[in-house]
């Protein structure tokens, strides 16, 4: 049984483990305002808002792709759809602004865009801040529109704060927030969808149901349901496990200081931390999936999924991150570099779970750069991603980490190229040697995202860019003006 609220009203529905929020809405509840555009989380036509109580008990709404969100994850949540925002022709300000600014043409993407605008509108009411281009892009980058070219949607977004409109009564209903904060819904079990609350429950369930799929954000896994028509009979949802939601300062086994990030912490929840501690990683988050994906997707999922083109694993390699794996026998820690074994194969034992990721604190003199190459700047998967970290010690490069995604069957460090630089002054000759070494380090494949040749040249180009950045940093006190070495939109 899934217990949740839909547009302010309580609902109880029974559903199989693999049902998505979108199919629940369209096929079970006859709520057809939410559209299916791709069923893969890439177009945003199915965007809904999910209300969850925050630490202070206030309901906060985030956007999500209903097509790849397991319906059972609605347990104890407030699901808001386009049908819930208006009363007759009295429109919510985000809807009124869309009409006023001619923001719809064919109208099929419009409900999704309205919901992304709604979450932005409510977020802005809760935490007012300028609607910068970056903020708008984060809010709307996951909603494809094939008709308008987005300009009128931008105008609507900028105007909605000053547009009068209808405010659904549930938005200001404290009782709803209290109900959701206190009554988190019954764990759904008989359907084969398990929602453990504690780590020991998770480990036990994993042992008892070895064939069950683990799901966090579902932003990759649920494509098996929508694209390959898999009927998952057993699913274990890790997103309600308290220990997997932590975000705390600590040390790894070797005593290095850093942050432990629970495996079920979403990208969106990581943003403030990354903005403060790892600006390059933070910048990458803006190009990782879309707002809808970042609101549900987790760092742990990206690691455990072990895709060779996942965006975060190369960064973890460059940072010398570590992972805590937990199973019936307890926990163990290992280097991120030792986790990825072969294509989609990891060191995770069948009865283990990824519990947390340790991100060491960057020393003051340590640099991190993360550069992603893709066809489209937003919401695209890397053709090549380079994550580079180094320290300049008395003019010599030290602890050089050159990690790449998209260059091999697993995210991997370019060990030959690293060796060419390690301990040397950052001279053009050493960087040329590093670029030469890349050809030994990687034999990338050709696929839909890029040819083998392109990947080789692109990796070399990123090393060349690294040279320019290091040289630029070294010459900052000189009289020469700094050259632009990359576009602002791609910087960091």
């Amino acid at each position: 049984m899934i217990e949740f609220f839909l547009n302010g009203r309580p609902r109880r529905v029974d559903a199989e483990a693999h049902l998505s929020v979108l199919d629940l809405l369209r096929e079970r509840l006859n709520q057809t305002g939410t559209k299916e555009g791709c069923a893969s989380g890439d177009c945003g036509a199915c965007t809904v808002a999910i209300g969850e109580p925050d630490a202070d008990g206030n309901l906060r709404y985030h956007s999500a792709n209903a097509c790849i969100m397991p319906a059972h994850q609605l347990n104890g949540r407030h699901l808001v759809t386009v049908e819930g925002l208006s009363r007759g022709d009295e429109l919510h300000p985000c809807q009124a602004a869309m009409v006023e600014h001619h923001g719809s043409q064919c109208g099929f993407c419009t409900p999704g865009i309205v919901m992304s605008l709604f979450t932005l509108h409510e977020d802005d009411r809760a935490r007012p801040a300028p609607l910068t281009p970056e903020r708008l892009e984060a809010a709307l980058g996951g909603n494809l529109c094939r008709c308008t070219g987005y300009r009128p949607i931008r105008d609507a977004a900028l105007a909605m704060g000053d547009t009068p409109g209808f405010r659904p009564e549930w938005l200001d209903d404290d009782a709803l927030a209290r109900t959701l904060a206190t009554n988190v819904g019954e764990p759904a079990t008989h359907s084969g969808f398990y929602q453990p609350r504690r780590l020991d429950e998770l480990v036990e369930l994993r042992a008892r149901h070895p064939d069950a799929r683990l799901v966090a954000g579902g932003t990759d896994l649920w494509l098996e349901v929508t694209q390959n028509l898999a009927d998952f009979t057993e699913v274990i949802d890790v997103t309600r496990v308290e220990q997997l939601k932590v975000l705390e300062a600590g040390h790894d086994a070797s005593g290095r200081p850093g942050m432990w990030v629970g495996a079920a912490v979403t990208y969106t929840q990581l943003e403030p931390l990354f903005a403060e501690r790892y600006p390059a990683f933070h910048h990458l988050l803006h190009r990782l999936g879309s707002g809808q994906v970042r609101n549900r997707g987790t760092l742990g999922g990206n690691v455990a999924n072990a895709s060779p083109i996942g965006d975060t694993p190369p960064v973890l390699l460059a940072l010398d991150a570590r992972l805590r794996l937990t199973g019936p026998g307890g926990s163990r820690e290992l280097a991120a570099a030792d986790f990825f074994i072969d294509y989609k194969k990891t060191a995770l034992a069948p009865d283990e779970c990824l519990e947390a990721i340790f991100l060491p604190t960057l020393a003051a003199d340590r640099q991190l750069k993360v550069w992603k190459l893709s066809k489209r700047r937003e919401d695209d998967i890397s053709a090549v991603l380079g994550a580079f970290s180094w320290t300049l010690n008395d003019g010599a490069l030290a602890e050089v980490r050159l990690a790449f995604g998209g260059m091999a069957a697993i995210p991997a460090r370019a060990t030959g190229a690293e060796a060419a630089l390690e301990g040397h002054a950052p001279s053009p000759e050493r960087f040329a040697a590093a670029i030469d070494a890349l050809t030994e380090d990687f034999q990338p494949m050709s696929d839909v995202r890029g040819s083998s040749d392109y990947r080789r040249h692109a990796a070399a180009a990123l090393i060349e860019r690294l040279r320019l950045v290091v040289a630029d940093a070294a010459s900052q006190d000189s009289q020469h003006p700094t050259q632009e070495v990359m576009l602002h939109a791609y910087a960091h």
């Binding site: 057809t32 305002g33 559209k35 555009g37 791709c38 890439d42 177009c43 759809t81 386009v82 049908e83 925002l85 208006s86 009409v99 006023e100 001619h102 923001g103 719809s104 043409q105 064919c106 109208g107 099929f108 419009t110 409900p111 892009e137 980058g141 494809l144 094939r146 008709c147 308008t148 070219g149 987005y150 300009r151 009128p152 949607i153 931008r154 694209q227 028509l229 190459l373 893709s374 066809k375 489209r376 700047r377 937003e378 053709a383 696929d447 839909v448 995202r449 040819s451 392109y454 040249h457 692109a458 180009a461 860019r465 320019l468 050259q483 632009e484 070495v485 990359m486 576009l487 791609y490």
Partner: protein, 802 residues
């Protein structure tokens, strides 16, 4: 006041400002005003219903299709027994189950409804399953056992064209002695280019619902640009008369050409099973299947050899365009024709020969897509403009302006005289000024001189696009107007609303003719039993044709009401008019006003028909295929764009920093809708040339079959500065509806400015001495390769000439 009949004669050359009927005192939502889309509130509230939102009877069936994984071969085994016995399955059909025609080629034969022995492309439908749910049908499909004797697929259109493997005969247009022009030229510019195709990516995929009706018929709801053709094909497939099939389209969640011919197969399959089972049937293609099964914009391979004088002015030459048509003709005859018609864009080709081949390959049958081949043809001459500029050492804008059609050089290579040349020149000059082209050019040149990695590029490109279906008979439209006794008005016409605002515009036309508020005029779904024998909503023609037909109906009805009023109220028939909800007329020396509602009531009681049909056929157009000449276009629509880009020459990444557009829509029917078409067209055109890359593997299987791998522009691709204006003060010189111009397709080609700006930035790596070939889409991969090539060219040149 001019009547409709008066307006069908072309206005005189001096008529740019004089003869357009000015708007009468404005009623609300009047034609020419920025009325909102008729469904805007329904869009934003989720109440606008698309096909998959329609409620069905409880026993309705859901269809799924079984596709060939193989691009070319013979089916040697097809075992569907496991499919039939899968849970929920009610019916399974293959080609042998079709009672009537099995070929559903829209214009020419060649499109089997399901594979008939032979497999022609990867993604071809082999069988169709009906089950009690969408998921059950799709899961059942996976149980089929299929054996295909695979043979090597034909995937090289150039080789196919050279071998004469074409879906339609090669066509040629020629003006003068192109060989002499080349021989006498100061410079000869020669190159080839690959122009990639494009997936429509309409947000609503292919979908339809078919209900069986009494007798032997069907009622069809479909997301479809051409309901009359679907009606015909269903009737032929079922072997029943056309009048037994009714097709209705309320709205589409995007079409862009992708639902002109390629919406019909699903409706035919659903109609077959609806008749077999007696149950309502729904088809909606999952995105990946939609992308694999349906045709796309044609990829083109183009070659050009042009002779220019020392000023860079084209004297003549030879252009060959090869359209990659896929496995069947579909609309490729007309699409490659349109590429040929637009190989000149806005420039005189002098004495030129243009040849168009329609190559057959083992891929989905490529089809209509906004611009219909025109964009691919224009890419030839826009590439050449950059090439010429580098050769003669002038700014590309200077070269473009020198080559524009002008007095004395105003004949196209197919013999049509280019009209409104003054408008073209005026438009470009205004944009040149408003975009501050020359001072930005200087700033960019200076920036590039000092910037080793980041280079900026700038380009102004014009668009001249011919308006009319090149198939003459399609240039007709009908409308049906009803006035009910409360005075409310219902208009239907043959066009389809796909987001472009056609219904809004047509309502505005009727409101204007009848002097009513827009709210008084309603439009309902387009149906083949209301307005028959319609043309597709395509070729940007929707408002031109259907607006005129609606106007014809309204003006006939108005005339009848005037006759009635003159007699009934004893008013002067002359100068009688409808304004702001009233009939106004003279009576002796004074004026009398009669409310619309009262007039209608009286007319009804006076037994005057309050229903009228309208019709329109575009005058003057003709084309002779034998000679390759004529006047295929009623008029041209113009526009121009300036794009500025910054590109990283190391990685090939780039961003579009600023775009300025000035576009000609004549006297706009609705500026808000027209600006929406201009902006949306530009971004879609930019996507075509930049991030949207179709990829097939060596077996001919599409590998970019979803939005994860096929990247249409997203919000962040909207240029930070995006100035878009409609050209003012130039009504259409032809008697189009209220002197407006078609706007659906022309702005798409404004996106070429981005591609030219990228080439401009790349040319900076050669000190602007050499043009750098850049095939499309110009992905970072291609741009990076071009930058490497540019550096090599420059180094070898620098090495050779110290």
């Amino acid at each position: 006041m001019r009547t409709l009949t008066d307006l069908t004669t072309p206005a005189s050359a001096s008529s740019d400002t004089a003869d357009t009927p000015r708007h009468a005192p404005a009623a609300k939502g009047f034609s020419g005003s920025a009325a909102r889309h008729e469904s805007a509130v329904k869009h934003v509230t989720g109440r606008a219903a698309y096909i998959d939102d329609l409620a069905l009877p409880a026993d309705a069936l859901h269809l799924a299709v079984g596709l060939s994984p193989v691009a070319s071969g013979r089916i040697t085994g097809l075992d569907l027994s496991a499919v039939r016995s899968a849970p929920g399955v009610v019916d399974v059909i293959s080609v042998a189950d079709v009672p009537g025609h099995t070929d559903i080629g829209p214009v020419f034969p060649g499109d089997p409804i399901m594979a008939d022995g032979e497999v022609l492309y990867a993604g071809q439908v082999i069988f169709c399953v009906a089950a009690t749910s969408h998921r059950a049908a799709r899961q059942a499909v996976k149980k089929a056992r299929l054996e295909i004797d695979e043979v090597e697929a034909s995937l090289d259109p150039v080789a196919a064209a050279e071998a004469g493997d074409v879906v339609r005969p090669t066509h040629r247009q020629q003006s003068g002695d192109w060989e002499a022009a080349l021989a006498g030229a100061t410079h000869v510019i020669e190159d080839e280019q690959f122009v990639g195709g494009q997936e429509h990516f309409y947000l609503e995929g292919q979908a339809c619902v078919v209900h069986p009706t009494e007798d032997e018929g069907v009622m069809v709801h479909t997301s479809n640009q051409h309901p009359s053709e679907t009606q015909k094909l269903i009737a032929e497939v079922l072997g029943i008369p056309f009048h037994a099939v009714t097709v209705e389209v309320r709205r589409m969640g995007g079409g862009f050409g992708g639902k002109e011919t390629q919406a019909s197969p699903w409706a035919c399959l659903a109609a077959l099973i609806a008749r077999r089972t007696g149950k309502s049937c729904r088809v909606r293609l999952p995105r990946a299947e939609d992308m694999k099964v349906t045709g796309k914009r044609h990829p083109f391979h183009n070659r050009y050899r042009l002779g220019v004088d020392e000023q860079g002015v084209i004297q003549g030459g030879d252009i060959t365009v090869i359209g990659d048509c896929g496995y069947s003709p579909d609309l490729s005859e007309a699409i490659v024709d349109r590429a040929m018609f637009h190989a000149d864009n806005a420039y005189s080709l002098g004495q030129a020969r243009v040849t168009g081949h329609r190559a057959r390959t083992s891929t989905a049958s490529n089809t209509a897509f906004r611009g219909f081949g025109g964009p691919q043809g224009m890419m030839v001459i826009e590439a050449a403009m950059e090439d010429i500029a580098r050769r003669v050492g002038e700014d590309p804008l200077t070269v473009r302006k020198r080559n524009l059609y002008r007095q004395g050089r105003d004949q196209t290579h197919y013999g049509q005289t280019v009209d409104q040349i003054t408008l073209l020149h005026d438009l470009i000059e205004r944009l040149e000024t408003s975009s501050d082209y020359w001072s930005r050019r200087q700033a960019i040149t200076e920036f590039n001189a000092d910037s080793p990695v980041i280079r900026r590029g700038l380009a102004l490109t014009p668009v001249k696009f011919g308006i009319s279906f090149t198939a003459q008979h399609l240039n007709q439209a009908g409308a049906l107007l009803h006035v009910y006794t409360d005075g409310s008005v219902m208009i239907n016409h043959g066009g389809i609303e796909m987001g472009q605002g056609l219904h809004t515009k047509v309502c505005q036309v009727v409101a204007r003719e009848l002097g009513l508020d827009l709210e008084a005029v309603r439009i309902s779904a387009s149906r083949t039993d209301k307005v028959p024998n319609t043309s597709p909503t395509a070729a940007s023609s929707g408002a031109d044709l259907n607006g005129q037909a609606a106007r014809d109906a309204a003006s006939k009805l108005k005339s009848r009401l005037f006759d009635f009023a003159a007699e009934r109220y004893q008013l002067d028939r002359q100068d009688m008019r409808l304004e702001q909800g009233e009939l106004i007329a003279g009576i002796g020396g004074s004026e009398r006003r009669i409310a619309w509602g009262e007039l209608i009531q009286d007319a009804y009681l006076g037994r005057v028909s309050l229903s009228e049909k309208g019709f329109y056929a575009t005058p003057l157009i003709h084309y002779d295929r034998a000679s390759g000449s004529g006047r295929p276009f009623y008029y041209f629509a113009y526009g121009a764009a300036v794009a500025e880009v910054a590109l990283d020459t190391l990685t090939g990444e780039y961003q579009v920093d600023r775009v300025d557009i000035l576009h000609d829509v004549g006297d706009s029917l609705n500026p808000a809708i027209d600006v929406g078409q201009v902006e949306g067209g530009f971004i879609q055109g930019m996507g075509w040339l930049t991030s949207e890359e179709l990829k097939w593997n060596e077996r001919g299987q599409l590998t970019s079959f979803g939005p994860a791998t096929y990247k249409i522009p997203a919000y962040g691709d909207l240029p930070a500065t995006f100035n878009v204006e409609l050209m003012q003060g130039h009504p259409n010189s032809m008697a189009s509806i209220y002197r407006s111009k078609a706007v659906g397709e022309p702005p798409f080609m404004l996106g070429m400015s981005v591609w030219c700006a990228l080439r401009d930035a790349l040319a900076s790596l050669t000190d602007y001495r050499q043009a750098v070939r850049l095939d499309t889409p110009a992905t970072p991969e291609r741009v990076m390769a071009a930058a490497r090539l540019a550096r090599k060219l420059h180094e070898s040149r620098a090495g050779g000439t110290p």
